[in-house]
Point group: C2
Chain length 120, copies 2
DNA sequence: ACGATAATTCGATATCTCTCGAAATGTCAA
DNA sequence: TTGACATTTCGAGAGATATCGAATTATCGT
């Protein structure tokens, strides 16, 4: 990932409405929500929301597709993963003993079922 | 974590110099680097860097301490974890089957030793 | 206390972005 | 093809932030 792309993605998240939209869609899951529903949920005019959705999409944080007259948006999990990967790349210069901070555990998207989780 | 705090943290990362500094310190590990060394590495004047370090520190992404005449900076792993946790909170509404994207694995700070890793 | 070093604060300019209504685009049903 | 709906694009004013040199503060060795 290029630094420019990462900067665009972090800038996209550094704004109240957009952060709210992104988190809403993270919680909504892969099926996403359409633009109108999102606008109603976050309480901004359609034109303003459209601007923000475009920024999030161009940043690689959301994906969009049309269903009839509506446009649906959902988290781009791959893009999000790439961003966080870039941020923490080569953490501690690759010496595991130095920084066992278990960042991974705490951001585990959709935790694994209890049995599998216990076996890890 | 408050949305305002998260916005501040993402804004802190949404800038070329600061993102470079943060990643440099992620790779440097818990011992960190002093301000002078960081300035030399990223190639900006001391005053400019100081401004950026302050923003990263106030955002909870770095911690700082004095050693004689120098001030050292290192990643605040706890603050970073809280930020990423906030971002991905309640992913997919808590239904694991929907989004097994393994974001966690790819940002695993300092990967576990091979034997333990293989056993998971 | 003094000079040297390390880092921060100050001040001013330039650049970027948020915001919304109005208008335009694209899609659908009849 | 006509009208209605969903979303995006346009345009302009208000607010926020990056940048650097100069000045200031803090710490150390002698």
């Amino acid at each position: 990932m290029e630094p420019k792309a990462a900067i665009g993605a972090f800038a996209a998240l550094a704004q109240e409405t957009r952060l709210g939209v992104f988190r809403l869609l993270v919680q909504a899951g892969p099926d996403g929500l359409n633009a109108g529903d999102i606008a109603a949920r976050v309480g901004v005019p359609a034109s303003t929301l459209s601007h923000h959705l475009g920024i999030l999409e161009r940043a690689g944080l959301l994906r969009a597709w049309r269903v009839q007259r509506q446009i649906y948006y959902a988290t781009d999990y791959d893009g999000t993963r790439r961003l966080l990967d870039f941020l923490m790349q080569d953490c501690c210069g690759g010496v595991p003993e130095l920084c066992r901070t278990d960042i991974a555990k705490t951001i585990d998207c959709c935790p694994k079922p209890a049995i599998i989780q216990g076996a890890s």
